[in-house]
């Protein structure tokens, strides 16, 4: 058990939690923005317009081809070099994760609406529902049910990918862990395993409830 004391030295526990808050905050803001922009993108993707289709598709593919780390460097350093505008690390991270999230959410929204059988629209109309009523009571609830587990899945991927932001100077939970290990590497050479275990636990505490919700929703959907 030697080395576990490191977690309780000084402000270390508090610093890890602060680091976790940076991680969660980045993911929350990015997911929030992605939901708004992604819904708009998804709606655009369902349009029959050829030009819109090609543009949105190209955007989606670029985001998927480009590793997030490269994107972070392009936004954090590249934008400053080209325009002189000095973005902070956190703002750059939110921009990158929102661009990524928007593309993914857009695609999810598109496929969720695409998956609703045509007869649902037709039955609604034949029942005499107006367009807003049709969407509000029939289409959205069904689309949403398929969407939520996927969105939660995306959020969890985003939370874990935020570990990359330490490369552009943002100190998130994993970086705090590395700092703690390094500062104590002579006095507590075995601290690394405990610090990483603590970080694992913190990630788990955030992601596991999300995973449960997602699984529950998926099950409920299957039951219906």
């Amino acid at each position: 058990m030697r080395g576990i004391e490191v977690l309780f030295l000084g402000n270390n526990m508090l610093r890890l939690l602060e680091g976790l808050w940076v991680t969660v905050r980045l993911a929350l803001i990015s997911i929030g923005l992605s939901l708004i922009l992604g819904s708009a993108l998804g709606a655009a993707m369902t349009l029959k317009n050829k030009v819109v289709k090609v543009i949105t598709r190209v955007y989606l593919e670029i985001i998927r081809i480009m590793p997030q780390l490269v994107f972070l460097f392009i936004v954090f350093f590249g934008v400053t070099k080209l325009t002189g505008a000095n973005l902070s690390g956190e703002v750059s991270a939110v921009i990158v994760f929102t661009l990524w999230g928007t593309a993914e959410v857009g695609d999810l929204v598109r496929s969720a609406f695409g998956a609703i059988p045509k007869h649902q629209f037709e039955s609604g109309i034949s029942l005499g529902l107006s367009k807003p009523q049709l969407y509000l009571f029939i289409i959205f609830p069904q689309a949403l049910r398929g969407l939520i587990p996927n969105i939660i899945n995306l959020s969890m991927r985003m939370i874990m990918t935020t570990a990359l932001v330490s490369l552009i100077g943002v100190t998130e939970v994993l970086k705090v862990g590395k700092q703690i290990i390094d500062a104590n590497r002579f006095d507590y050479p075995n601290a690394a395993i405990w610090v990483y275990a603590a970080i694992f636990l913190l990630y788990f505490l955030i992601c596991f409830p999300l995973s449960l919700v997602s699984r529950g929703l998926a099950k409920r959907r299957a039951d219906k």
Partner: protein, 288 residues
């Protein structure tokens, strides 16, 4: 959809090419002086009038730049950074940087100075401007207390442990052909070999062996400085002459009070020991 994938790939390739071009902008040279005026770096006056200097340091490289258990920045580089801010009479903002992005932070003016154990190399000097050195690193040789090796010549005919690909390997191959080299891939393998007595001594960077000998009883660094000496210096954005001059003057004037010896005592002594000849690591007034 194949066509679209191709377009997407082409566009991302173009974005990558653009960003690469932006990164190597300083090397292509033309129009470089123009970019400095639109704020790629801040002059000493600008730093003073804005009342804040930002200095890039390591946050997880004990004992040069690290964050202690209270959450405060500490280390040899940080000690100097605090003094710079004090002498400029401005507030200090410490920015955590990674080894791989130190040059980029300067090129984009996101920090004014990098003080992150930055070794001066020809390649880097093309991309940033180095001030006078404040520390140096060479090779060291660590051996058991029972048979201390105190000069490189004593190694002739003996077995020296080295790690593959390090400067120690090249140095001894070229300059001491009579020393038998025992090569390992990893540092921890090399250290176990030394502890097991598989070799007479182990050589690598002196900062590394000094720190190791401090935490492993029964071993002494008999040779503290050997081979070519690498300088460690502060760096500023390429072309920031004013700040560079100020830093050089600062380093020269700090020699009067032996500032970096005091820095050693405050930050490095606990890791490298008090018995070490400080002049093998510390540089005063930029005089190597």
């Amino acid at each position: 959809m194949n066509m679209i994938k191709k377009i997407a790939a082409a566009v991302s390739a173009a974005i990558l090419a653009l960003s690469l071009a932006a990164c190597s902008g300083t090397e292509s040279g033309s129009g470089n002086s123009g970019s400095s005026e639109n704020g790629n770096y801040r002059t000493v006056d600008e730093i003073k009038s804005e009342g804040k200097i930002s200095i890039g340091v390591f946050s997880d490289k004990m004992p040069f730049g690290y964050v202690d258990n209270e959450g405060e920045y500490q280390g040899y580089d940080v000690y100097f950074a605090r003094r710079i801010a004090q002498d400029l009479n401005v507030e200090l903002e410490l920015v955590p940087v990674e080894a791989a992005s130190r040059v980029e932070f300067l090129q984009t003016g996101k920090v004014d100075i990098i003080l992150a154990n930055f070794t001066v190399t020809e390649e880097r000097a093309k991309q940033v401007d180095f001030a006078l050195p404040y520390m140096k690193v060479a090779l060291g040789v660590v051996s058991p207390d029972s048979a201390v090796i105190s000069s490189a010549d004593e190694l002739n005919g003996k077995t020296l442990i080295v790690v593959k690909g390090t400067t120690a390997e090249t140095y001894f191959t070229e300059n001491y052909p009579d020393v038998k080299l025992q090569k390992y891939d990893e540092y921890n393998e090399a250290y176990s070999a030394l502890q097991d007595g598989r070799g007479d001594a182990f050589s690598t960077d002196n900062t590394e062996v000094l720190a190791w000998a401090m935490s492993n009883h029964g071993f002494t660094v008999g040779v503290e400085s050997l081979g070519s000496v690498d300088a460690i210096a502060p760096a500023v954005t390429k072309g920031n002459e004013e700040l560079l001059t100020w830093l050089n003057e600062e380093i020269k004037s700090l020699a009067d009070e032996q500032f970096f010896h005091a820095d050693y005592d405050a930050t490095l002594a606990s890791v490298y020991g008090d018995t070490v000849d400080k002049d093998n690591l510390v540089v005063e007034g930029g005089q190597m």
